[in-house]
Subunit: 343 residues, 2 copies
């Protein structure tokens, strides 16, 4: 039992709550016999729903699932400060508490991002040597992907924070992608040294000078997709705007395509013919494909699933957490950060 | 002659120099008999090329075109400071000088953005009451478009600067789109008042409190395309990254579509059938469609055409400058800014 990877699921979070989190949990344990999931939420509801939808679960699967009651929940509209102070019996808070008490190895939640970050920081605390947490996600790039951070845990990041993000993102890429020396770039408004604001220019020098990092300079917004880096670092305000701008563009294009294809009978017929190809493209670009944003810098592994995750993409978030646990990501980050402090 | 709109074209700038600027100039004067274009660049080359490609231009067209010699040029790689100090005989500098001397009403250039901004600020100076210039462009939004600024003239904009950008963007939307009271939004990482960095939160209050502006609050990156605003204001670092991230996403999607359609014989056939619809969509999204970034806040109208502009999109940039001149944009901005100073 000790070798099992134990993950707590905040079952009530996200736009769909149990309707997505429970089937995702069941699918995840079916795929991984070494996984133990602690489902945190309204116990009677969870047990009822499990029985109703998965009454035929065999004993070995049920042994991988534990239910922990949480009478309250954090809603998508709760302010982080309110969630932190007044929702101590919420599924989110109890899941994070379980991690802090070492009763699980990681937490996955599709709930309110701000609340999850506030609760995680308060309960778990930062890793030694890290000043601020960062949110990191994968985006497609070339035929592969890259890790973009920070996506909004911070605003007004200083150069030293950006260096810490670089170390953490690089460690994540090593454990998740198996790349020994991931290429680390800074997001900037030009590729020359003179471009950018003071923090980014200084961070560029710090990252360049750090022997642990494989620095590849600056990338611009339109180079995110060109496979120029494995990790791209930026302030949370910039990263949040950039990621959402990308998502907005993709949505706008797919809507424009759909409306053009619906324009008249001929284009409707063309749409039917083109659908298999279009579906392949949509799938490649689907943000759900890249689900599972990692909260980095905390004394514990927390993975945020999209609020509107599908079952499959929630499973991917669980698998992301599992990978981070099993590859010992926290120890690697700790070790690299300690070099930073010493050096 | 006095009622003509006089525009200087930096003919040597951009990736294609005369190959694009000359046919664009000829097309623009053909379309608008009230336009007078001053072509600035290597005179012998320009005259040779005009004769060779447009030997049959009739007299009235030729009367709309003046050539002014400029022996030097600013390259796309020149640092702004070098261009400003050492390229005083460049086509870009001489075009801006002509504007300063009131021999033309506006300048259009496809050259080096940083150099054009540096030279324009130095020669033309800022409008009274405006501390910093801003670069503004149109992007598609819903069935219409919006004006996004700043796109990189500044980094680390303070709240007061963002308010000035809002005033200028709003004036531009009024003169270009004919919207009396354009909806002005601030780009942020959430729509609640507590979200964002200090500058953006304070700018939100300043814009809200300004009686001239029709403030509609915050928009996030993915809402840029939802027609929630006519003008969206942000710091230049953020705007530059956001715009390029959008362009990068669009390019990535179109490349993915193309490569999927080329995958095998069947998908190649499907591509041929779907091409008319796809072309319509590409055209709608083509950044060339939205060519013509306005430099706002200067004592003169300067429009930047994409470095890789096609002839048609260069013509659009010229028409953008013409519209700004004929609608008296500078006077409108001046008047609105004076209210700001008084109020």
């Amino acid at each position: 039992m000790a070798s099992r990877t134990r993950i707590a699921i905040d079952c009530m979070g996200g736009d769909f709550g149990l309707r997505v989190s429970l089937p995702a949990a069941v699918n995840a344990v079916r795929k991984s016999p070494e996984l133990e999931l602690t489902l945190v939420g309204q116990q009677t509801l969870i047990e009822q729903q499990l029985k109703q939808d998965f009454g035929d679960l065999n004993k070995s699967i049920l042994e991988q699932i534990i239910v922990v009651d949480a009478p309250d929940e954090v809603t998508m509209c709760d302010k982080p400060s309110i969630a932190l102070r007044h929702k101590k019996k919420s599924s989110m808070r109890i899941a994070v508490n379980l991690l802090h008490e070492n009763r699980v190895d990681a937490v996955v939640s599709a709930g309110n991002t701000g609340a999850l970050m506030a609760i995680s920081c308060y309960v778990l605390k930062m890793l030694p040597g890290i000043d601020r947490p960062a949110i990191c996600t994968e985006i497609p790039s070339g035929d592969s992907h890259l890790h973009l951070l920070d996506l909004g845990a911070n605003v007004d990041s200083k150069a030293g924070h950006l260096l810490q993000f670089a170390i953490m993102g690089s460690a994540l890429s090593t454990v998740v992608d198996g790349i020994e020396s991931p290429r680390v770039a800074l997001l900037n408004i030009g590729t020359e040294d003179i471009k950018g604001n003071e923090q980014v220019k200084l961070a560029g020098k710090l990252i360049d000078a750090n022997a642990q990092l494989n620095a590849v300079g600056f990338v611009e917004g339109d180079q995110l997709f060109n496979n120029k880096a494995d990790v791209v670092v930026c302030d949370g305000f910039v990263g949040n705007v950039a990621l959402k701008a990308c998502e907005g563009t993709a949505t706008y294009i797919s809507q424009t395509l759909k409306s053009e294809f619906k324009n008249n009978l001929l284009s409707k017929i063309i749409a039917c013919i083109a659908m298999p190809v279009l579906k392949k493209v949509y799938k490649k670009l689907d943000p759900q494909q890249y689900n599972g944003a990692s909260f980095l810098g905390l004394q514990g592994i927390v993975v945020k699933s999209h609020g509107s995750s599908s079952v499959d993409s929630f499973v991917r978030a669980i698998e992301q957490a599992k990978k981070e646990v099993e590859s010992n990501m926290l120890a690697i980050i700790k070790q690299r950060v300690s070099l930073l402090v010493e050096g």
